[in-house]
Symmetry: D2
Subunit: 336 residues, 4 copies
């Protein structure tokens, strides 16, 4: 039985908690900590029987009963708490991104050296049924050599501008998932990126120094070309599609919907929109990633998304940002 401490009792912390309670019988939530613990969170934690509830995450770090921590606190705390947890010999599941700063992430990489600590980064989409099916086809050689990867990733609605300002920007906050997806689907590293961006959704996002619409092309080490488009607002729902095209064929996935019904009338044939909310869209992925983290601990196998997988997309994101700033392609070797 893996005993888990959850650091950060907000939405995503509770999501992971529920995943453990309902789908990971090999694990138990030993403790939860949050300096800004809300009444809702406290009630939830008590309701599901978590015994140790604290305002100080160090109570978890120092708890000898805790085997593993889930770091679900704000991004700026991911690195320091990771380091504390590693120092305390805890396994770590850390929400993405580890940090926006490569040197900080490198400290975590270094701290893990020589240990047998399991470290997993929260790139949940790797556990999504659709993307897994695409990856499986690629890995099975069904499409042969990879030629072109296409990803469209569009949020249903933009976050508040206050969030945008501290988010690290579109490339580190939103497209980082897609950079990870390119690496996951291709099994290859990225060599060079070129970004174009625009402010088309909300001028306030532009005033905050960010873009809300972007297309990034990527050259991969395996020779393939990739392209990602992002938008902060797809009014029809959370639009999440990927395609890998190669010498033997093409595999692609579409969106999930809430039902399969379609209505034919004089006005056309109407079917359901993509699911709107990311928690609904990726619920099973959130469940599976925690289950797989616990399995890595139990079976002493590498995690599916290691610290290097946490570092690489940040590197790509920084390169994309630089490309947008300079108006030219940027090699990853120019960063860091």
């Amino acid at each position: 039985m893996v005993k888990i401490g959850i650091i950060g009792a907000g939405r995503i912390g509770q999501v992971h908690g529920k995943s453990i309670l309902t789908g990971v019988p090999e694990a138990k939530i030993e403790a939860i900590a949050d300096p800004y613990l809300t009444d809702q969170a406290r009630e939830w934690a008590q309701g599901v029987g978590i015994q140790k509830i604290s305002l100080d995450h160090k109570d978890i770090i120092n708890d000898p009963e805790v085997d593993a921590v889930l770091i679900c606190s704000s991004t700026d705390t991911h690195c320091p708490i990771s380091l504390e947890a590693i120092a305390a010999g805890k396994h770590v599941f850390c929400e993405k991104p580890i940090d926006h700063n490569l040197a900080n992430i490198q400290k975590v990489v270094d701290a893990l050296q020589g240990t047998n600590i399991k470290y997993q980064v929260g790139f949940n989409r790797r556990f999504d049924h659709n993307f897994m099916a695409v990856r499986q086809a690629v890995a099975d050689g069904k499409i042969g050599e990879q030629h072109v990867i296409r990803i469209s990733s569009r949020d249903p609605a933009p976050p508040p501008v206050s969030y945008v300002k501290v988010s690290g920007g579109l490339f580190l906050d939103m497209m980082i998932h897609d950079f990870d997806m390119v690496r996951y689907l291709s099994g290859s590293e990225v060599e060079e990126v070129h970004a174009v961006g625009a402010v088309l959704v909300d001028p306030e996002i532009g005033k905050a120094g960010d873009v809300d619409t972007a297309i990034v092309t990527l050259k991969l080490k395996n020779g393939a070309l990739a392209v990602i488009d992002n938008s902060r607002q797809a009014v029809y729902g959370y639009d999440q599609r990927a395609e890998v095209f190669g010498s033997k064929g093409c595999v692609q996935c579409g969106n999930d919907t809430s039902h399969t019904a379609s209505l034919s009338t004089v006005d056309g044939v109407v079917s359901d929109k993509p699911l709107w909310f990311f928690l609904e869209r990726y619920m099973s992925a959130y469940q599976l990633e925690i289950k797989r983290f616990v399995e890595a601990i139990v079976n002493d196998t590498p995690t599916d998304v290691g610290v290097v997988d946490g570092l690489a997309p940040v590197l790509i994101g920084l390169a994309a940002k630089k490309s947008l700033d300079l108006g030219r392609p940027v090699k990853l070797s120019e960063i860091g």
Copy 2:
């Protein structure tokens, strides 16, 4: 907090138990009973914290702490236990069918007269996201007056012949869900049925006196015509589709799949098969039906699938059976 006793700790009993544990915070499993309690069931019950575990369902019937019972035992016990529970003033959720015998079901109908006991029958498909979307379109008048209803319902693989022998036959065991679906989608009663059947899947089913393939046409009170086809074996998965066609349009639903990925190669474009297993296909429906049952108790509203909804499809099934035997259409007024 509605305190629930589960009678029958087999597969479906545990499914409902999990639904309560993970999705119905207004309810609590107070007790579970099963005369043939397996080790697996006992461990499961203990693992999820059920305090009262018994071999005798009367322990639940007589437990003053229990507000409602879920009858998940074998079909032949549904009626007697329903009657006991009603006599004890418990609300009842009873798996389908209540009984194969109309007179027995009538006893339950009679017993409920004058009480405020909530009685719900386990026609889970009424809570399926796809069928609900079809019903919603019909109820909203999107297709106008109903003209034709089409249902295809095919199991992935036939049950053991030993089961077939005691199942009540295709019409009462399998197509009963589709008779219920016709009533649900149309909001109308059935007046007349005509059945054709054949033994095409397994000759042993024929030797057991049953058919494994059947088409039934139905005339509805609202004037619409309906048709259901059933097969005990669709090798590509659990095939569950419905369509309602009317004066203003047509609404139809397809199958659920495990992912949306499709692969294009020289051999064609391949996408995923329908989900294979009924528990996977209808998991969210099983969860919702229990949630709705508890809500009916909490809010003192009628259940979504009352005892009459449990009786009507049996009546239709008996008429279909008679039609197949006699080789002619049979009016429901000829039965019972």
Copy 3:
């Protein structure tokens, strides 16, 4: 070069004429005749270079230059003109149905005995790309043994009641295509039918003694069961679907649309309706059937839809009519 005389210069006669002109280089339109020749028809015929234009179909029958005739005149003339053409040694393409009277069709069957005259009946759907693909899968054994055949066939709008009165009724006028389709897709004969019908579209159709909505179940000689639903009015377009389900799988076809574009907005995902007009929907089928007729002449091979294929669906239609009248299943052996 096969020299063709077209008898009947109306819509369908001109459709076949255009097919020859644009797609059948081995054939030439030698003559056209129509007792009610319109100005439009005369202009069309002259415009496409048809030399012999007549008001008397006997001019074509007696023309030694004519190798084959297309009978596109009214249904009541199909039999007598067929007999005249056969007597004159002409190959015959006859629009469906040959006749509503079995004895009359039998005369054509008899007249063809011992001759090498090619006779093809205009069941155009056998040449439709979608139904051909379904048939091909069945013929290739892709679905194994046939278990259930489902056909939905719905017109976009009802014909004038004046037409309904002389049409022979839904079963002989409209569903006859679907009876043919059951025979074509299954490669099997029909043994018994049961029909239910209703007047749901237009009460005037009922007053004319016909139904506008019907479901017919059929038992086939090969053991499979089939079901057809027809409606005179599908407001969303010409709805033409078929499905064959068997021991190894299921093949089904959907409708054709005018484009593949879909629009996703807050209101849903909207795609195109089925094509509305039968000539648009089946244009390529009309072209192929004439091409195949000419090929049968040129290569001295049997036609794809022989006189027996013209007789059988009429027999089924008469049985369906009788079933509806009597309210019981009718065996084909009861007819004729």
Copy 4:
């Protein structure tokens, strides 16, 4: 009646000829000329009744009976023959591209100044049912302000390397259609492009100095971003898709197939591949473009694809080529 002279009697010349014969009653093929006239072409021309067959295109230019010419000869002749035809006062339909050299195209632009000559360039995809439906949705404001345009355009198989060498390269030979499509779908001009390319299909294409796989991002004057991916080889067929995403929604189109049938078995659900051959895929578009050209003459309206529409994609193609060579974005203002 518009009298047309076809210059170039090869495949595409005959395609246009057939379009006129079967679908453009307002036009007549007066003459055809080809210096390399094949026996097949001569037979075809005689077979369809073209009276004037010549080896010298000047016979058509000088023929006072000819109102309009279709220039279907090799690319290097498009400009000089256009100039000759304009000088002779003929309307001109010219296959794409007009030329690879901007100065040459400018001569045609200049020659047309002050005349009322109709000049149409053969960007056939603008007349495709799918792309027209996408454009219509955009033009109707269904997607609001444009944000992202995505086009995938992949040939089923690469052309011979001998052709690649004289083709002008991927951007001017193949992607030029997609540059036109971006202008057509958006109704906007392009300001800047960035190209990445690779040799992944055939090393011989690389040796010929070209790429066979490329992704180009474009900034449009209207603020939108666009991306095109091209491959010389999609083994599953001619893959032609487009999508326009904006503030109110997203419209996209898929491929055409030869039928709608799908087969469900234990191996999955298999449906048809995209049509393989461009003439099959775009046959109705080829027909419509000629019809519209003749209508522009008859009605004295501007052509749908004028000489400027012939120039602009060449400019974009040259910019893309330069971008690939220099490894940086290129503004269109840098070209010409």
